[in-house]
Symmetry: C2
């Protein structure tokens, strides 16, 4: 947990960035079109979906298949590598699901003790 650590962090950055995990989760085990992924992820903008998918493709985590049809169609899917990432990320995602409540409670307790810059009067 020292030398190679920065490289690990670099990978964890991807996991932590705003949309990567959602995209990987949506792709899961099935191929999806651009618009399908977009619809499956509520808040995401067209731009950010493109950016995120490009980054994942660059890292060899998803494949991009373009069909020269009209209208155009582009399919995305996890690579074998992407699937192993999804599997490895599951424990953490489950942890998050299981403990969101505890974290919320801890935050509330913390914030109640330290009323951060609360009232009026300069």
């Amino acid at each position: 947990m020292e030398t190679e650590d920065c490289r690990v962090r670099e990978v964890l950055d991807k996991v932590g960035d705003k949309w990567s995990v959602s995209v990987i989760g949506v792709l899961g085990r099935e191929t999806r079109r651009f618009s399908e992924v977009k619809r499956a992820i509520p808040g995401i903008s067209q731009r950010m979906l493109t950016v995120t998918l490009r980054a994942l493709e660059r890292d060899g985590l998803v494949t991009r298949t373009v069909y020269a049809t009209v209208p155009p169609r582009v399919d995305y899917a996890l690579t074998a590598l992407g699937l192993t990432l999804l599997d490895s990320a599951w424990p953490l995602m489950n942890w998050a699901l299981d403990h969101v409540g505890e974290i919320d409670k801890a935050r509330d307790a913390y914030d109640r003790q330290r009323p951060e810059v609360p009232p009026q009067q300069p």
Copy 2:
């Protein structure tokens, strides 16, 4: 992977942010002083270590113990909750360690195919 997803992402944000995982990893199973943690994480600034530790404390993941000695001394340790997070994060960290090489190769291949704005001449 849809409704509660935003809450999960909120938690994953912490994991993905620049220093949290490193700090959690350094604390591991043992109590550490502020300066010890700082020394164990090469690039981190005093400010960011403080900010990161505060956030982790707020979320109930680490405890902060102040000793009224001279010079002052502050100990940090993972809570039980923090330990479960560390355990759940292990698979992902291992995945990162194991596949950094593959990712690098994928990137190189990708970049070679698409020489992004490479040469001179405006």
